[in-house]
């Protein structure tokens, strides 16, 4: 995992509540056995028409989305399936953070494991951000994970919560699996004390 560093970016507003993972990346693109090429399929059915041509009115097809690294979305972002293809597609497109009032649990966990920061802000800040980008498409904010601050234009800071362990992993660019593997002795001790309830190789 890449180290997560402080950055500033424009916001890409997508003012829809309950954006589900089937919208983020439709299931028919999940037949792949690799992680490559998913950025092109991000929001595919909102982004392209029946002939596969970009819909000019969809935000990701507009010049303001180019190079932007923050998605500003409606409440309960990422509900639905457990597909990690959703954060893979978002990061491959270039997003490094998503701002919402809330995130679905599985999506949030998957995002954090892929250096994509889910930022939960209070409803009034959320509404204010939508208003700001509405007034000025070039409106920028800074994401400072180490201090857990969203820095708005003019210097006002908004605190956000993040799991401390996930934060450390993101800042240092560490995969969780390495941490778990270091607990081999604990795992072995647990296994010795707890006989397995099943054996899928027998039966």
């Amino acid at each position: 995992m890449k180290k997560f560093e402080t950055f500033s970016s424009r916001l890409v507003p997508l003012p829809v509540d309950n954006i589900d993972t089937d919208q983020i990346i439709p299931a028919r693109f999940l037949k792949t056995i690799s992680k490559a090429g998913l950025g092109d399929q991000l929001f595919y059915d909102w982004r392209y028409d029946a002939e596969g041509n970009p819909k000019p009115d969809f935000i990701l097809n507009q010049p303001r989305a180019k190079g932007a690294a923050i998605l500003l979305a409606g409440d309960n972002f990422g509900c639905g399936s457990s597909r990690e293809h959703a954060p893979w597609a978002l990061t491959q497109f270039g997003f490094r953070a998503v701002i919402s009032t809330s995130f679905a649990d599985i999506f949030k966990g998957n995002a954090l494991k892929n250096s994509l920061l889910p930022i939960e802000v209070p409803a009034e800040i959320h509404a204010e951000l939508f208003q700001k980008v509405d007034e000025n498409p070039d409106y920028e904010v800074t994401v400072d994970l180490a201090r857990q601050k969203l820095v708005l234009a003019g210097g006002r800071e908004v605190h956000f919560d993040v799991d401390p362990f996930a934060k450390q992993c993101m800042l240092e660019g560490i995969d969780e699996i390495g941490w778990i593997l270091k607990h081999e002795d604990d795992i072995r001790a647990y296994e010795a004390a707890h006989p397995a309830p099943i054996n899928t190789l027998a039966g």
């Binding site: 028919r28 699996i177 593997l181 899928t200």
Partner: protein
Amino acid sequence: MPQPRTIIEKVWDAHVVKEEPGAPTLIYIDLHLVHEVTSPQAFEGLRERGLKVRRPDLTFGTTDHSTPTTPRSLPIADPVARTQVEQFEKNCREFGIPHFGFHSDGQGIVHVIGPENGLTQPGMTVVCGDSHTATHGAFGALAFGIGTSQVEHVLATQCLLQRKPKAYKVEVTGRLKPGVTAKDIILALIAKIGVGGGTGCVFEYCGPAIRALSMEERMTVCNMSIEAGARAGLIAPDETTFEYLHGRRFAPKGADWDAAVERWKKLPTDEGAAYDKQTSIDADALEPMITYGTNPGMGIPITAPVPSPEEVGDLLERDSLKKALEYMALEPGRPLLGRPIDVVFIGSCTNSRMADLRAAAEVLKGRKVAPNVRCLVVPGSQPIKRQAEAEGLDRIFKDAGAEWREAGCSMCIAMNGDQLNPGQYAVSTSNRNFEGRQGKGGRTFLASPLTAAAAAVAGKIADPRELL
């Protein structure tokens, strides 16, 4: 006196491997189910890191999502899907994981085959790279969906880093009336608390209406916990659970069985245990439910009118409802009853078990699917398919003019050849009505197998109580 605990805490506590300050809890996983769609990148990760599967004896695989439901004598026509299925079977062989391949006589939907084979047992932790893993909670297991990174973690270590979830009590009082089913309970709950209502929580379903459900019906309820935002939902085990499990392939045998039942009987929530949240549903007052919008929380009793955006206060919420009704091409303020439909899908990990097929057959027996409707009946597994055929249900479906297909996820996920055409309306027993979920541009009404079968006969949305 020890502190009274919920079943959720009891299962959690029994699986703690390590707790360290500053880190989530390391918990042990008793059963890891894998399928072809969310595992290939995890196996690739193992290869890149030079790791093996730690406990193939606690892992089981099946093929379901991208497998066609056409006759098994035919090859998988889609080369991308074929490659995925072949890669999965190769991965399982290479890492020593027992599995049901595409041509296995045990093949089926991952959340059907686990319980069917007695792999899912009370008190276990169960994970799978699929959000409907919540299904296995019906047995009193703590079962939840995980992403592909975590699939790799479990393959390599049999452990996961997790924060302890909150406990959310869902009490279902009273008794279901004829024509009202387990599916209607869960659709009513999601409509009540919304698609994010259970975020951060595990549901415990309890109350007399839950106790009265069969295991298959309990699986339907737990299955859709995720549609209310809860990663897991469970039901304390009881005699119904033990009776279902007894004699199944991987269930304990002989003295081990007796010992297991004694252990399982200690799982139910202690008197006085505290929950973080709670809600209740009155089964007596429930009607058959149906969704009208583009998330599972947009559900109404079948006789009710479609809500109007004007009645919604919150701006973003109003826009979302407007957008949903535009996508569905529905008029607010009018009931769905009588609206013509194009497709009926009976299947999915929510409703593809024997009880579901029997319910659909009860409605379809001696009747015909309306000429304007395509009706697909897709059993959850090959054993279910054989059992249904032994009972003559396949004849009832075929005589009615429905398609009787091979086992798989089919039109619930539309990545296997079974899908809606743009603009088509479907009444579906599956779990998600998201835009395009059942095929690009397709429009889904979620409902029970009874309601779906009634719609197939009527050719339009119909109240199943009139056909019983």
